[in-house]
Symmetry: C2
Subunit: 617 residues, 2 copies
Amino acid sequence: MKYDTRLCWLPFLGDTVKAGFTTCREMAEAELAIGLRNLGYEPPVCVLETPGEDEGYEIQETPGGLTIRGGTRGVLYGAYSLMMRLAAGQSPLTAWTAPCRSLRMLNHWDNMSGAVERGYAGRSLFFDNGKFAYDSRRLLRYGRILASVGINTVCINNVNVETPADQLITDELLPEVRKVADLLRPFGIRLLIAIDFALPMTCGLTTADPLDGSVRGWWEKQVARVYAAIPDLCGFLVKADSEFRPGPGLYCRNHAEGARPIARALAAFGGTLVWRCFVYNCQQDWRDRQTDRPKAAYETYAPLEGLFDENVILQVKYGPYDFQVREPISPLLYAMPATKKALEVQLTQEYTGHQIDLYYMLPQWQEILSDLKGAEPRYISAVSNLGNDANWTGHDLAQANLFAYGLFAWYAVVDTAAVTRWWIALTFGEDPRVEDVLLDMLLASRELYESYTAPLGLGWMVNPNGHYGPSPEGYEYSAWGTYLRADRQGIGVDRSPSGTGFVLQYPPDKAALYGDVKTCPEELILFFHRLSYTHTLPSGKTLAQHVYDTHFEGARRAEAMAERWNALEGRVPAEAFDNVRARFILQARNAREWRDVVNAYFYRYSGVADEKGRVLY
Amino acid sequence: MKYDTRLCWLPFLGDTVKAGFTTCREMAEAELAIGLRNLGYEPPVCVLETPGEDEGYEIQETPGGLTIRGGTRGVLYGAYSLMMRLAAGQSPLTAWTAPCRSLRMLNHWDNMSGAVERGYAGRSLFFDNGKFAYDSRRLLRYGRILASVGINTVCINNVNVETPADQLITDELLPEVRKVADLLRPFGIRLLIAIDFALPMTCGLTTADPLDGSVRGWWEKQVARVYAAIPDLCGFLVKADSEFRPGPGLYCRNHAEGARPIARALAAFGGTLVWRCFVYNCQQDWRDRQTDRPKAAYETYAPLEGLFDENVILQVKYGPYDFQVREPISPLLYAMPATKKALEVQLTQEYTGHQIDLYYMLPQWQEILSDLKGAEPRYISAVSNLGNDANWTGHDLAQANLFAYGLFAWYAVVDTAAVTRWWIALTFGEDPRVEDVLLDMLLASRELYESYTAPLGLGWMVNPNGHYGPSPEGYEYSAWGTYLRADRQGIGVDRSPSGTGFVLQYPPDKAALYGDVKTCPEELILFFHRLSYTHTLPSGKTLAQHVYDTHFEGARRAEAMAERWNALEGRVPAEAFDNVRARFILQARNAREWRDVVNAYFYRYSGVADEKGRVLY
């Protein structure tokens, strides 16, 4: 196994990708030629395009071999699926499958400087030093990896479009974007471009007011220019009125009004406008107990139901805060049934361990979906966890999140264990011992990380800015709207109808469930309620004791995980073994730190001793 | 008044400094020619050098005029003194005066990148973008300003010598250092160079062990090379075994051993080694209650009494922590009577308001000196507050700190009000209203800043990293050794003999005074003792009530100060008025923030309500 493809789940395809194709079908045939040979599969495999279809495919037995029948892109998805099934010792036969979601996006938060905002896997795959700078062979492998799990749209630049250099649609950069689009097209991947709402003003207009005629005209002109260069561009992605990014609020326009001129300009070319809904007051006065940040997105968007154009997709983070370890589903996802929505998840482990601590996300996504029953967004987006590290994701095991994301995005409901086992088998081969250990670790990882960091739905106890490691009051007096309000009496924010009323944004059954401390799920109880340290939880423990127990147990389990990994030495490639071992050691140390800090925090405020007499600082 | 010299206390000298001199006498005559003319003083002023003298001078009446009689540098100090006295309407006559301290240093924390570590007045006066880069006319004015208050030694590079580019004694950079030395020589200013203890290893040796013969030889060679270029160099400045800087500890050598090879190499050329004593464990485990950071410097150095070479000066911060608003005197300053020591103060307002909040330091220095009676260090050093801002110090009024520092360094004991009035008169002219207001503000400023930030000797409630604004638990679980240990019962660290024993490092009378909660000065009581929130202070108030009262009062006074300044509009130059007004508004806001956060912090832990019923959050 070469270093460059280390642990990517497609080792049978090797390092080389053939370039120079324009269609997925050509790519499918080229990839099959490499992969089937390396897999030692000799019967003929025929690739047939089904007219009028795009992404669906089926794999059937045909005399003496197999036939992949699929749409324009479906044939490529079918080809990868076939090889990945063979590689894992599964039957390749597949009944017709088409994706549940037509847009399956990956958002890179890459700056032209080469830095990746919240990136934990090295620097950008696309940019360096203010310029496009990439290894095109690596970019072809990137396309292959994404296509193998059906990701069909990528935004290569950061949603925070801050510097002029990050404005990809300038005359200077657009030809460079086009080259990337050309490289990725045979993988069925289309580009989104993140743009700055105020771009008209950078380019000489005196306003970016969406109701201003000159602004409308300006966007029409720009979009025409962009589509002349990249006719199959997916569209634009906008973060507006969010964390210091400009937006329609500057002109007292609502977000539907703000989106309209850009959306209309895009509509003329079949383009889509993805509009992020991560809007809240990031300059809140911490003294203000009326404002409650989780309420912000719903308050901003729900009244705009029916007002967005057809080609606008609202991209909504899964929780009402910001990618915390444990949050309830964003109430906005239950609202606005007539508006197109994309669920936004975050593969890059900003609040979930920085690709040092293990945090496998598929169980969480399944949970979200099961909560949303009947209100599932039809589109999906994930913040990328990729960088130019040799292993793509910093932590070798973090590759599993990208793999699982692709399958989850396609199928919506998957068998978590089966998907995870598939990734393990493709990546590490079919050693049952390795499979058992890894399956356990991955499936337990989220709950483990939660156990030592975020008790009972409490978030934000992280070090400010970096977001790794504990600092329980690090955000307590900040302007970010993220407060725990701990004092001698208790901790948490009352979001019930008698508190901030946040629960009232949910459908009535959910509102009743969450709003009552007696029915609220334990893992969310401090998200929705303010409780005393001696409150008795459903488990029968007091709140303080629950915190102590989970944190001691979490640190113990993190240590045990590190030890368990050691037993796999020799069973997994040495580089992967070392990569993961080094991280597990750091994770165990991190878990001890979280244990002692969070326990001290609860102990110092509550004065409640540990029933089991363990040390609290 | 031109912008470039705005508010420097020497406006009568204008923007131009004559260049091309080599001696202070030449400079003195040139400066007198400019200054006396601008001051309209016509009688002849004669400059006479007193053989064998260096810094002392006197100003006497001679037939028809004045005579400055002084040492090599004394004549220049006399010239400035004469003009500054005239400019302030004072008699210029001065009996023989010689400085109490022979080294009166300014340490710049400037990096070759141009960034100034903890700088709040723009970027470096010396460096930019990895290179020497300065306006030599501005550097001449810098020399003038320093010489006018008798500062005779400057270290232009950061004590944290981190990158190869910051190593000023390389073949490439040494000629550039020499140019700066040449520019500053006629102002009586000699250079110190901050060097990296491990520099031998950067330059090819395999060790920096001070007991290794090759290391000794290497330093001898380097020092010879440096003195060939700059024969009157003051010497080197070293920060070793401190905050990740390498030092003798790496080789299990003590600091006397560490200093020796460098000191001996310097001694051959009459050079001095200034050795910083800011040594502590910056990777402390916060759980560890045995280790007490304030004890570190004394523990490291006191046992080494008598072991340092004659030409070594230990540079000791005034307090045992790190430039906090309120600390007791460092016990190391009472110890080691046979060892040369320099008192280190910090003009740049790292913990004292970032040159946004007003913080005039002379009262604090006088307090230190009066505490040290009989143990005053013979040398003094200050971290610079200068940068390339047009007004040199960011906050116009922060210039007063540099002025006062020079005079304090020379005279040791000064009349605080007289020195301050002198600065006001030179800077703003002789409007009695301006003088009254500014004198009040400056003299009250430290106590005001203390009142809303650092109650009862408690420090470190600042935002981590930046050190501006409140974050009471920002350092609570960090590795920096700075803990408040607040819980429901009380707050503070017991440093009495029954606690960490830190007080035992003091002479017996001080140890007894500080060690007993009944005699400990109120303003230091939480530095030395752990107290409950309901502890009755000497003032008769409970601890919690004291905190509330001082913080409400501090915020009120900060606001009142801003209003009082407004009444000076038209009486001070418009640029200065605006500069200070803008900062006072920010200070008032900062004080409100501190008030509410610190009060909330004490209230949430203590549960003690405010007697006066004011809002606690």
